[in-house]
Amino acid sequence: MMMELGRYAVPVLTAWGISAVLIVGLIAQTLAASASARKALEEVERRG
């Protein structure tokens, strides 16, 4: 696969790598925040 990218392997892999990190990070943060908010609400509702 690297062979197919030729002399532009570094910019292509850099662009895809940084984008993957940013998008996967956003998804992970969204899921973590969602789980945390759900847990906090359940706890308060259980108390009340």
């Binding site: 990218l5 943060q29 609400l41």
Partner: protein, 241 residues
């Protein structure tokens, strides 16, 4: 049935909860499929393998602008009709828009270095995109800085109106000024230059995948904001009791 019924948080949670798995599944199919298809495309005769960057750059840039337009619509609904879900949806969309803008800026810079010979140029489109990114950061910071949620929604709504100038400028800058380095729109319904179908179809699929990803994240994050608001209200009631 009126669309305003969905401004009721209970109804919104019920409907979005039912739709979310389907939208998330569609995003989980379309986005990887589009990206793999884009990755497999042959080298362009001018750009070589850097054409593969387009499958991230174009959909991310498209979403960066459209998410701000969605935030504008949601902010206007809040400012005019005072529906809390719309204000929370605008808040929920901002981090997604900021990441999309950053992806567009980074991939554009990485593509520009070998193609234009520079990482950055103070070109109208590039500059307006950078300002749009700063507006996203300012919008999120303003939400976090104001304690009263209604005041925060009011002020961020106004900021969103002002930032819309740059969102629209990002979209149309290449049409306003000819001296910019950035080329015209990659896809257009106007007659003339046409992108090869070898690139066009995987690009369409990537754009659909990015849109579905945004919709999934928007629903998830809006539900999170509603839960946080409800938790805060219950805690406030406990303190009063």
């Amino acid at each position: 049935m009126s669309i305003w019924e969905y401004a009721n948080p209970v109804k919104f949670m019920r409907v979005s909860g039912a739709a979310l798995p389907w939208i998330a599944a569609a995003a989980a199919i379309c986005l990887p499929a589009g990206l793999i298809w884009g990755w497999m495309t042959p080298e362009d005769y001018k750009q070589g393998a850097t054409v593969k960057i387009m499958f991230l750059h174009v959909p991310a840039a498209m979403m960066a602008i459209n998410i701000w337009v969605m935030m504008l619509a949601a902010s206007l609904i809040w400012l005019i009709r005072r529906h809390h879900v719309s204000a929370l949806a605008a808040r929920a969309a901002a981090p997604v828009g900021a990441v999309m803008t950053l992806v567009a800026l980074v991939t554009g810079a990485v593509w520009g270095q070998p193609m234009w010979g520079t990482w950055w140029e103070w070109d109208p489109r590039l500059t307006s995109f950078l300002i749009l990114f700063l507006f996203y950061l300012g919008y999120m910071a303003l939400w976090g800085a104001i304690e009263n949620p209604d005041s925060a929604a009011d002020l961020t709504g106004v900021l969103c109106l002002v930032g819309s100038v740059f969102a629209l400028l990002s979209r149309y800058a290449v049409n306003f000024w000819n001296q910019g380095l950035h080329q015209g729109a990659s896809l257009s319904i106007a007659p003339g230059e046409r992108m090869s179908t070898v690139y066009k179809y995987p690009l369409y699929l990537c754009m659909l995948g990015f849109f579905l990803l945004f919709l999934t994240l928007l629903l998830l994050r809006t539900r999170t904001e509603i839960r946080r608001r409800r938790t805060a209200a219950l805690l406030a009631r406990e303190v009063r009791a």
